[in-house]
């Protein structure tokens, strides 16, 4: 038997992490739905892939209790980086020095624009289960999961991997789902306020069009469009910079290029240091690629958010 921090590999860690979150939730009577990662794979919605984290959708009312329970087990809350979000935080990332993966606890999923509690109840009513690490784990059912995955890929639609994954998901749905499944997907999109955000997938698989009145409840649609636009992250940083008082702008700019760790312990691990370097290089690359298009994007952004600063 060996020390887990030396030998526990990512794939095993992720599977066990899903089992851990599920068991913890059951013990506390908290409703939690596993999603993404190996759950997608087991439901046939994605090909083989080693995930880096455990994703779970938590009853929004019980997010704080779930975070506290994980903290009692030695997990540390806090996304590693400061980020001037154009949309509210949708998850809490938790780390543990003896685990190779993170746990992302979502209290809502971006792109479902209906109220978070309403979306959770809809997804919970449709819940299914998969076997991970030899245990039954409660998860989002395959139809709702296609919507979750679609929204995730569409949120990162300039990333080639997301484009490929969206194509793979579309092909899978086209090849295996019945007309009844597609009708359920369409109804779910209406109910969760994702008919518009999910439109590329719905159209791609030939799902029936959503109800005409659906657009009326698309609160937050502007934020979604802003977040999913090409180069938007750099634009978002510039918008946030303009909203920052002059005296705080130097520190803001420093953090934009060299983001500080919110969780100090993470900096001490080899994985944390490597992730930090890789992340900084990626950020600089994204910023450099976005520069030529910035004037145009800023103009469009001003129009999109109605000229607000």
């Amino acid at each position: 038997m060996s020390a887990p921090e030396q030998a526990l590999r990512l794939r095993a860690g992720v599977e066990l992490g899903y089992a851990l979150v599920d068991r913890l939730a059951r013990d506390l009577g908290i409703r939690v739905l596993a999603m993404k990662g190996p759950v997608l794979q087991l439901q046939g919605l994605r090909g083989p892939h080693v995930s880096a984290d455990v994703d779970a959708l938590v009853d929004p009312e019980d997010l704080a209790r779930t975070v506290a329970a994980l903290e009692e087990l030695g997990w540390v809350a806090g996304g590693p980086y400061f980020w001037p979000l154009s949309m509210p935080h949708h998850s809490v990332t938790m780390h543990h020095p003896q685990w190779p993966c993170e746990i992302d606890l979502h209290h809502y999923f971006p792109g479902f624009l209906a109220p978070a509690q309403e979306v959770f109840e809809l997804l919970w009513d449709r819940r299914a289960s998969v076997v991970l690490a030899g245990r039954d784990v409660t998860c989002v059912d395959r139809i709702a999961h296609a919507a979750v995955a679609g929204l995730h890929y569409l949120r990162h639609e300039t990333d080639p991997r997301s484009v490929a994954n969206l194509h793979g998901l579309t092909d899978h749905v086209l090849g295996t789902w019945s007309a009844a499944d597609l009708a359920v997907l369409s109804e779910l999109a209406v109910a969760t306020g994702s008919s518009i955000t999910l439109a590329p997938l719905l159209t791609g698989v030939g799902a029936p069009a959503g109800a005409a009145g659906d657009a009326a409840r698309q609160v937050g649609l502007e934020g979604w469009r802003l977040r999913t636009r090409p180069h938007s992250s750099t634009v978002v940083w510039l918008i946030a910079l303009r909203r920052t008082p002059w005296r705080r702008r130097p520190l803001f700019l420093l953090h934009a290029v060299f983001p500080p760790f919110v969780t100090p312990d993470l900096r001490r691990t080899r994985r944390g240091r490597r992730a930090q370097v890789v992340d900084r290089l990626r950020r600089l690359g994204r910023a450099a690629r976005a520069l030529p298009a910035l004037p145009r994007d800023l103009r469009e952004l001003r129009r999109l958010i109605g000229g607000r600063r």
Partner: protein
């Protein structure tokens, strides 16, 4: 020492890959996962709720092409470690 069948604890999450077995105790979630490599993983796979310690020793010895006396001490010690770590079901009281 009892010679009843060795039974895995029912409250475990288990991931068995080609070269290691990783176990998480679901009754004590604060404890980190236990990683069994090489021979440890081989022995774990032989603990099937049917074999007792003597049979386990014999089968481990056969796996490695040696005599039972050569592995008895190591296997016994490993099994005791599994029991101490809550990875085997408690022995039934006589």
């Amino acid at each position: 020492m009892s010679h009843g069948p060795l039974v895995r604890h029912p409250e475990l999450a288990v991931v068995d890959t080609e070269d290691q077995v990783v176990l998480l105790r679901l009754e004590t979630l604060a404890a980190p996962p236990v990683v069994l490599d090489d021979s440890g993983a081989d022995i774990w796979r032989l603990i099937d709720g049917q074999r007792d310690l003597d049979e386990l020793v014999g089968d481990v010895a056969a796996c490695y092409g040696v005599g039972p006396t050569q592995v008895r001490e190591d296997v016994s010690s490993f099994v005791a470690g599994l029991r101490r770590n809550g990875l085997l079901a408690p022995e039934p009281q006589e």
